[in-house]
């Protein structure tokens, strides 16, 4: 009898507990939604430049990422390597690459954790250390990447929560788990297929580089009606290797055309790469035409000329690297090649310069005429404009002035990973900022890289040091940019020249004790970066003084000179303001 009562009591307790848990489970949770609603001004995003190992001067594999958002979170962090217990899992978060958060809410990598997707995947025994900005950029195995949003057919977008992965989370997992570009592509592709890709992202391109090769990886969602229960892949993806002696570019346009899956050294793809296009009517296998990835999933008819320069980056890049091939701005972008062999091999400095390119000397140069004004400012009206109810395009340059930061990654197979990998990072607009080297083996980054946002001026933030110089350059661009370039030549030039010595010292230390090399590279990368940030604050001060009130103050001679204005601008001023010459006024 007592046993029966005890049993009844236990049943009652279990029943009540189950019911309470169920109630809590089905009740709405509170306390979310702490993120700021962030404007999405990414009308035209990032540019990626890709250099194969035999197309570079020193044998480096290179990628770039101009993080051209304008309102995104620019902060960086170092993520240490870690070992994990067997059976542990990795939580998957929705991470919106375009969102930023007020600093008082905390760091973005903590805030992300509020958006747990409910998916946990098996954790690997060891995760690699990496540098993390908007995406993962380089890990301690010299796996590196650059990113560009390429879009897709609008009905393919999947902005519903059925898509558990977005591009940012995929890059973080690639950095944590992979040593090579091929491994990373297979991992990201398979995760997208299994758990669904999209949510806050549309079609995306990543340049995936390691010490030997570089691939263009493109991934797209498969529409909002996808569910994991369908048994079909939740993503569609394709990857093509850039030949070692070639260079390529991705300016927010799909780059992969015809594919040859019988050649796995150059092509990889999801199982649905062609069948999805056939099912949706994007490709007719009976057409007699070969399947073309970009034409099926992201078709476009524009050229540099037809878009009046707003889609000119593709043509401009190829014209810069291979002028002998005389690429025409009239050629539709989809007809331009996947990659080209450059007329001359590219150095890191060449690539840095290309990230800063503003179409000087072309019909699309935004510094020309009234757009640039008296001081040939190439940064005005980057989104075009509307007047009298008519819309006008302006050229979209590679070095557009809304970068959160720009990276040039360098992977070198003749050196141990901690020494071989370098991320050259500059904060803010690259024309007025300064690239700083961060070696792959470093174990910390300057605090000034980890802080700051767009809405509060912060003297502790490296990005604000760049913006401080940039702001003072805009006023008298054609004059101030000369001072900036002089400073860039000094700081970047010295850093580039010092690479060989730094490598040698680090390598000698590495042979004795890798930890010593890592400590040396960490100290060097951080001290150099801190010196550059200090120098940029001073440069901003100097520009303010020198061009104060639109005069020119010579700091050395303590003289003040008049600002020089170009004749063409003065003539236009006379015409527009109907000014009369002094002599004529005297005649009156």
């Amino acid at each position: 009898m007592v046993k029966r009562k005890k049993f009844l009591f236990i049943i009652c307790i279990l029943f009540a507990a189950f019911a309470m848990v169920s109630i809590l489970a089905f009740s709405p949770s509170k306390g979310k939604n702490n993120e700021a609603a962030i404007p999405d001004y990414s009308l035209d995003g990032c540019t990626v430049i890709i250099v194969g190992k035999d197309a570079s001067v020193d044998g480096s594999v290179m990628t770039t990422h101009t993080c051209d958002c304008g309102l995104c979170d620019w902060t960086w962090r170092y993520v240490p390597a870690a070992d994990h217990e067997p059976g542990s899992t990795r939580k998957i978060y929705h991470i919106n690459q375009f969102k930023t958060f007020p600093p008082e809410q905390g760091l973005k990598w903590e805030i992300y954790k509020n958006d747990f997707t409910g998916v946990e995947i098996p954790q690997v025994p060891h995760t690699y250390a990496y540098l993390h900005g908007a995406f993962g950029y380089m890990n301690d195995q010299q796996l590196a990447l650059g990113e560009s949003t390429i879009g897709c057919r609008k009905e393919m977008d999947n902005s519903t929560p059925s898509a558990k992965f977005d591009i940012t989370m995929l890059t973080l997992l690639a950095m944590e788990q992979c040593k090579t570009a091929r491994e990373a592509i297979k991992l990201m592709g398979s995760l997208g297929e299994k758990y669904g890709y999209g949510f806050t992202d549309t079609g995306e391109m990543l340049a995936m580089a390691d010490t030997k090769e570089v691939w263009i990886f493109e991934i797209m969602p498969v529409g909002p009606l996808w569910t994991p229960k369908s048994g079909k892949p939740g993503a569609i993806w394709c990857a093509q290797r850039v030949p070692d002696d070639h260079v390529s570019v991705c300016p927010n346009e799909s780059r992969i055309g015809e594919i040859d899956l019988d050649n796995p050294d150059y092509f990889m793809a999801s199982s649905n790469v062609i069948s999805y296009a056939v099912d949706k009517g994007y490709y007719d296998p009976n057409s007699g035409e070969p399947f073309n990835w970009k034409k099926a999933y992201s078709p476009s008819e524009t050229s540099a000329a037809s878009s009046k320069g707003s889609r000119a980056r593709l043509w401009r890049f190829f014209d810069l690297v291979a002028p002998s091939q005389k690429f025409s701005p009239d050629t539709p972008n989809m007809e331009l090649p996947f990659s080209v062999k450059p007329d001359k091999k590219l150095s890191v400095k060449d690539v840095m310069d290309m990230t800063r390119d503003k179409y000087e000397g072309t019909p699309y140069d935004p510094a020309r005429g009234l757009q640039g004004g008296a001081f040939a400012n190439p940064n005005r009206l980057p989104y075009g404009f509307t007047v009298d109810e008519k819309r006008y395009n302006t050229a979209r340059v590679i070095g557009v002035n809304r970068a959160e930061y720009v990276t040039v990654t360098q992977c070198r197979d003749w050196l141990p990973h901690p020494i071989g990998g370098i991320v050259w990072l500059c904060f803010g607009a690259q024309d007025t900022s300064c690239y700083m080297p961060l070696y792959a083996g470093i174990t910390r980054i300057p605090l000034s890289f980890e802080i700051g946002d767009h809405w509060v001026f912060n003297r502790e933030s490296a990005r604000w040091a760049s913006d401080y110089v940039d702001f003072h350059t805009q006023v008298v661009y054609s004059h101030a940019i000369k001072d900036v370039r002089e400073a860039q030549e000094k700081w970047e030039g010295e850093a580039l020249a010092r690479v060989e010595t730094t490598d040698k010292v680090a390598l000698d230390l590495y042979k004795k004790d890798p930890a010593q090399a890592i400590a040396f590279l960490t100290e060097y990368s951080n001290s150099h970066a801190n010196a550059v940030v200090d120098a940029w604050w001073k440069l901003g001060d100097d520009l303010l003084v020198k061009y104060n009130k639109l005069w020119v103050y010579d700091i050395k001679t303590r003289e003040r000179k008049r600002m020089e204005y170009p004749d063409w601008w003065l003539r236009e001023l006379v015409k527009y303001n109907q000014l009369q010459p002094e002599a004529q006024e005297e005649k009156r």
Partner: protein
């Protein structure tokens, strides 16, 4: 001897409460609406593409305009033969044999989600979009047009109180005749609260695919 009656009663209460809560989410009676239908956006996010894909999959012939005015809605099916242009999109798929041009819309479906990029492309500020929506909602109420509010974006279409996304929800959801919401959009119970306060039928789904069948039932 211990008295187990209170414990048993409490257990029974908990179970009944749980069952009523769960069934309340899953078994809302799906209301009926009539064609012709116009799909549109509240906030100009890409979620309206999800809405249109759902309509196509459900074989519902619809008209679509991302930024309709009251005058355009008043013009009825065919949307006054307006053509798409920068920041303004019109698509007419309504079966014109059954609903000739000019037939008054019986239903409007709003895909809720704010995008400053989308609003910017249409020359709208957040306040301008809210005002535009208010005028349309007033017109719908005046003309007895059935309003369906859809929020399928999950957490990416939500925000802090007073944020752009929440303003779009405030502008449409409380005035809807039917709310369809993704479970991830309703983690904080905001849509459930609106539905309960305003006595609006609400259906919560896990996947957008489930809305295809719901639309079939709504317009059957």
């Amino acid at each position: 001897m211990r008295n187990y009656k209170p414990m048993l009663l409490f257990s029974l209460f908990c179970c009944l409460y749980f069952l009523s809560s769960a069934s309340g989410l899953a078994e809302t009676e799906i209301p009926k609406a009539n064609l012709p239908v116009l799909t549109t956006s509240a906030g100009q996010s890409a979620d309206v593409e999800t809405l249109n894909v759902i309509c196509e999959e459900a074989d519902i012939k619809y008209d679509y305009c991302d930024v309709p005015t009251v005058e355009l809605i008043e013009a009825g099916v065919g949307l006054a033969n307006k053509e798409s242009g920068p920041g303004f999109h019109v698509e007419v798929y309504t079966d014109l044999a059954t609903y000739p041009k000019g037939t008054a819309y019986k239903t409007i479906i709003f895909a809720i989600g704010a995008s400053l990029k989308g609003m910017g492309a249409s020359g709208l500020t957040v306040d301008a979009e809210v005002n535009r929506l208010k005028k349309i909602i007033d017109y719908c109420k005046q003309k007895n047009i059935f309003i369906i509010a859809l929020h399928a974006a999950g957490t990416s279409g939500r925000g802090a109180p007073g944020s752009d996304n929440e303003k779009m929800i405030d502008a449409v959801a409380p005035f809807a005749d039917y709310i369809i919401v993704a479970a991830d959009s309703n983690k904080d119970g905001r849509f459930t609260s609106i539905a309960q306060d305003k006595d609006i039928p609400l259906t919560q789904v896990e996947y957008a695919l489930e809305i295809v069948d719901i639309f079939k039932q709504v317009f059957e």
